[in-house]
């Protein structure tokens, strides 16, 4: 679905050239769950933003096969909610902006807020929510318009382990049910190993792809996955590559 060839990015800030991403080759098949893991500042967000069309690559070519009218879903590293809208209105925002009927948007927003564990907070403004709750609202917003491609930038980084585990499983359920293609940036080796078909390891800043692992783990994933020796082997490999 996605083919990146030699995609690289540099920024010019006050005349200085900042290397953000060195040339990257990456293929993501339709319906795949791919994680990107790497040290802070290595260009994970940059790569994701290029794929989302929020940034243009300085070099290389990027092809994305999807219907022209399909918007990609994006979960920003720091939520990015509109502060004048309630949680529910934020989730519904992409639907409202596209002119979807009110009651349909309403039902979707309520269902998704319940899915991310925020029932009862529909009317709350973002400033009244904690960082993790805001992030969950933004996940619900990214799901609201059912995008075929979902790009997630450390979506669960601000959550406690229990919520994180639960949302990991919810995400896999949604992924299985909707056959979305998901690219998932994380700092957690365990999360990457648990969720993905492929794990892309990036080298330190300025980053490029260091190694790609195809997961040997069976699906569906669950408690049994975490007991699988292959799971622990994969985590150990990832840790070694990151060190």
């Amino acid at each position: 679905m996605i083919h990146a060839r030699g995609v690289a990015k540099h920024f010019l800030t006050r005349g200085a050239r900042v290397e953000a991403l060195r040339p990257v080759d990456l293929d993501v098949a339709r319906g795949a769950f791919v994680s990107i893991i790497g040290p802070s500042g290595c260009g994970k967000s940059t790569l994701l933003r290029i794929i989302a069309g929020l940034e243009t690559a300085s070099e290389g070519t990027l092809t994305i096969e999807s219907a022209a009218d399909q918007r990609a879903g994006f979960v920003f590293q720091d939520a990015v909610l509109l502060p004048w809208l309630s949680a529910e209105e934020n989730v519904r925002f992409p639907l409202d902006a596209a002119g979807v009927p009110r009651d349909e948007g309403d039902a979707t927003a309520r269902r998704l807020l319940a899915l991310v564990g925020l029932q009862g907070f529909e009317k709350a403004l973002p400033r009244a929510l904690s960082g993790g709750m805001r992030q969950r609202v933004s996940i619900a917003r990214a799901l609201s318009y059912d995008p075929p491609l979902l790009l997630m930038d450390e979506p669960f980084g601000a959550l406690d382990l229990l919520t994180r585990d639960r949302l990991n499983d919810e995400l896999l359920t949604i992924w299985t049910a909707t056959k979305k293609t998901i690219i998932f940036v994380t700092h957690s080796v365990e999360e990457a190993a648990y969720l993905s078909d492929r794990v892309v390891v990036m080298s330190p800043r300025p980053g490029s792809i260091k190694k790609i692992y195809d997961s040997p783990l069976a699906r569906p994933r669950g408690e049994r996955t975490k007991l699988d020796p292959a799971f622990h082997q994969l985590m150990a490999d990832l840790r070694r590559d990151l060190a």
């Binding site: 933003r49 069309g53 990609a72 509109l82 902006a97 596209a98 709350a124 403004l125």
Partner: protein, 255 residues
């Protein structure tokens, strides 16, 4: 807020106004100031009541109010529209930014006589003067508001592929509202100044005219009354804008 706290502000205001009137009254008695220089508050009240009874006062007040509403409304709308256009079009900004800065810093009040020459002695010149005073602060506020848009909101708009107008209406104008309101508040004060000034210069209606009439005929108590009413009108307009701001920007305050 407890019911006590709700009453405190107005009570304090009334007490302050009462104390002021008392001091004023005592001063007049003490210094024996002649009424044509400083009339006692009771005379001012009487002059207002007399003018109100004849229906004259309401007529002048309504005239000024009507000009204020028309001029402020038009000036604010034009200011927002022009601010959007300049913020959105770098080319337009390059072409008009300089002249606008010049006009904005030029004292519009000095242009007031020109408006009379251009738009005549009637309503048009008065409203044009108010518009010119409201337009610039609102324009600048709108430009600042749109220019300072959080880049992450721009990302969101891009991601959701919002068209220019949806993006403007759903994100940019709302995010910029705090800055736009800075302009609207300055404009509210200026609008009252412009309304009174316009009536000073020409015509036979409005609180500004009432002032020139009262001073020309040595009706000093009526002059004071008109001044007090104008001040109250200014406060009322400002409060109205502030109330609108508090309601529209409630998301910034308490959760």
């Amino acid at each position: 807020m407890t019911s006590r706290a709700i009453w405190r502000r107005p009570l304090e205001t009334i007490a302050a106004v009462g104390a002021f009137c008392l001091a004023w009254d005592l001063y007049v008695r003490w210094t024996d100031a002649p009424s044509y220089l400083l009339p006692p508050p009771a005379d001012v009240g009487a002059a207002l009541i007399q003018s109100a009874a004849s229906g004259e006062l309401a007529h002048h007040l309504l005239y000024t109010l009507q000009n204020l509403i028309l001029g402020y409304g038009a000036g604010a709308l034009l200011g927002v529209a022009a601010g959007v256009a300049l913020a959105k079009s770098p080319r337009l900004d390059r072409a008009l930014g300089g002249p606008i800065l010049f006009l904005q810093t030029a004292p519009k009040i000095a242009l007031a006589p020109l408006f009379v020459i251009w738009f005549g002695l009637g309503l048009a010149s008065k409203i044009a003067l108010i518009i010119s005073l409201v337009f610039f602060p609102v324009l600048v506020g709108t430009m600042v508001g749109l220019r300072s848009l959080d880049s992450r909101f721009a990302d969101l708009a891009r991601l959701l592929r919002l068209g220019v107008w949806r993006r403007l209406w759903l994100i940019e104008l709302r995010a910029g509202l705090p800055d736009i309101f800075v302009g609207l508040r300055i404009g509210a004060v200026q609008a009252v100044v412009g309304a009174i000034l316009g009536e000073w210069m020409s015509g036979r209606q409005g609180l500004g005219y009432l002032m020139t009439f009262a001073s020309a005929t040595y009706k000093t108590p009526l002059l004071f009354g008109a001044v007090v009413l104008t001040a109250l009108l200014g406060i009322a307009v400002y409060q109205l804008v502030e109330t609108a701001e508090r309601r529209l920007l409630s998301w910034r305050d308490a959760p």
